[in-house]
């Protein structure tokens, strides 16, 4: 779990974009940890949301993840 969380944060920090789809997180994590299952990655991402390291970004129709403090961080 901890290694997946680290991989997610490493991807979020390195990524050129400030917001990314879950799919992109999953692909990036599986590059580093090939046997990481989607469910585990989701659990790790949820834990990072609860730790306030990641944020959800929603358009209403689809949702992206972002690193807290990077890109759009204010209310709007």
């Amino acid at each position: 779990m901890e290694d997946i969380k680290e991989a997610i944060l490493a991807f979020a920090e390195k990524s050129k974009k400030s917001k990314f789809y879950f799919n992109d997180i999953q692909k990036a994590v599986q590059k580093v940890i090939p046997d990481a299952k989607a469910r585990m990655i989701k659990k790790a991402a949820t834990a990072l949301i609860n730790e306030e390291k990641l944020i959800y970004f929603s358009t209403g129709s689809s949702t992206m993840y972002g690193l807290k403090g990077r890109g759009q961080t204010e209310d709007h």
């Binding site: 989701k42 991402a45 949301i49 959800y56 209403g60 689809s62 759009q72």
Partner: protein, 472 residues
């Protein structure tokens, strides 16, 4: 195991939970309403009031006047929110473009859905709608609620939001429109801890499941849609609130093929109650319909004289598979040809009833027309038993959720993935063989590209011989 709530569901009593007094709720007269003038000029909106139908503008004016007359401490966001909303809409009409900015990082802690951020891009002109977020409340199954329940929700939204609501959104949620970011958490707390309600789905989540009135009030319902909707809503809470799908995903539950929640047209996974034995026929009641003693369609078209009921013209001849006939004064049905169109049952409900071996048909892939046009669901599983706690159904759901999130592109609905990878791939995922009962749309079966190993004995084909006669 079926879901059991941790704490008992309370019956909401408005008198114990109300925020406003009757005087505050009825704080203006019809005379005052006639003389009401919005603080912004809204000629085009006022034009909308002149049509034959009730107008949202008329409702907004009532709400605006009501808020004008409440005292300052009885609203936690600006009193002008409704008037500013109307003013901005007039500007949009004048300029032919929207002034809303959609989306953002607003939400409630731990939830990735249920709140949709919205902001005005004219905040100096319309400060009361600088924030105008939407909250979706998961509606009770079949939208059954008491007036006490509604009053509690309305009071909360009046106090902490704009007071403007949509009953209901297309997915079924109670939609509360227009509040500021700082009100989101308090509203969520009140909803969860006091009113025992939850937010609905939005974004790349499982969206709020919806069902028809089912066995609660409908004799045709072949499955307990309310129970199924409740169970799956609770079982898949994580998918509802923490988004990890490529895009939205919808469940809808119809008790019979009449499809009152239109699951076939609106959900990625549609559940439609059906039966596998024969339509039950009460021959005496058939004769009573023929003799005019019972009104057809339960009297639904009684407003006009359509002449004497003619069973041949109105039922037998319009059966899409021509599987009905009269024999020695009795109505006969060749049930194996029945496609569950429900017409005969709808016309003669006291004579014909769905069979007793009931279950569910499962269809996949309906969607609205954002990409590639609207699609109807594909009838993939013609019949499945459907009893609590629905383990067999959950197994199917999870097979789909193994495949679609893995293979689906960002913002690709299940229906589009099925179209891109083919029905054969869907069947491979579900581990079921192609069947003639699978229906793509009325009168059309899905195209299945057979592989050699799927066909007993395979086939021999010399590609060079073929090419000698057919240029590439």
């Amino acid at each position: 195991m079926a879901f059991e709530p941790n704490e008992e569901q309370k019956v909401l009593k408005y008198d114990e939970l109300r925020i406003y007094t009757d005087d505050e709720l009825n704080n203006y007269t019809e005379e005052e309403l006639k003389g009401f003038k919005c603080k912004h000029d809204i000629p085009d909106l006022e034009e909308l009031e002149k049509g034959p139908w009730p107008s949202f503008v008329a409702d907004c004016k009532r709400e605006a006047l009501h808020r004008r007359k409440l005292s300052d401490d009885r609203m936690l966001i600006e009193r002008d929110v409704v008037e500013d909303m109307m003013g901005q809409l007039q500007v949009s009409f004048d300029e032919g473009e929207t002034h809303w900015k959609h989306g953002g990082i607003v939400g409630v802690f731990g939830y990735g859905g249920g709140v949709i951020g919205r902001y005005s891009d004219l905040p100096e002109k319309f400060p009361s709608i600088a924030h105008f977020h939407t909250m979706r409340i998961n509606q009770p199954a079949s939208k059954f609620y008491s007036s006490d329940y509604l009053r509690c929700i309305c009071d909360l939204w009046e106090y902490r939001g704009s007071g403007m609501m949509n009953m209901h959104g297309s997915t079924g949620d109670i939609i509360c429109i227009g509040t500021f970011t700082e009100q989101l958490e308090p509203i969520f707390y009140e909803l969860g801890h006091v009113l025992q309600q939850d937010l609905g789905g939005s974004g790349s989540n499982l969206r709020t499941p919806a069902c028809c009135i089912g066995k609660a009030r409908c004799e045709w319902s072949c499955i307990d849609t309310q129970d199924m909707c409740y169970e799956l809503t609770h079982y898949y809470q994580d998918e509802l609130h923490r988004p990890a799908f490529p895009y939205k995903f919808k469940f809808k539950f119809d008790g019979c093929p009449n499809g009152c929640v239109a699951s076939i047209a609106r959900s990625d996974m549609s559940f439609i109650g059906t039966w596998k034995d024969n339509i039950r026929i009460d021959q005496e009641a058939v004769q009573a319909y023929i003799g005019g003693e019972i009104a057809p369609n339960a009297g639904a078209h009684a407003g006009k004289d359509w002449g004497k009921f003619d069973i041949k013209k109105e039922v037998i001849n319009v059966c899409p598979t021509k599987c009905m006939w009269m024999e020695d004064g009795k109505l006969m049905i060749d049930d194996k040809e029945c496609t569950r169109c429900m017409h005969c049952i709808n016309v003669m409900p006291r004579a014909l009833k769905p069979g007793v071996e009931t279950g569910v048909s499962i269809l996949f892939g309906a969607k609205a027309p954002i990409l590639d046009g609207a699609q109807m669901s594909l009838l993939t599983i013609p019949f499945m038993e459907c009893e609590p706690p629905y383990e067999n159904i959950k197994e199917i759901v999870e097979k789909i959720w193994e495949w679609w999130p893995e293979e689906g592109k960002n913002r690709e609905r299940l229906g589009e993935l099925i179209q891109r990878q083919g029905v054969s791939k869907l069947l491979e995922v579900l581990e079921i063989p192609p069947m003639p009962q699978m229906v793509k749309e009325p009168r059309s079966n899905p195209y299945i590209f057979w592989k050699e190993e799927d066909v007993p004995g395979g086939w021999d084909r010399d590609i060079n011989d073929y090419r000698s006669r057919h240029a590439r």
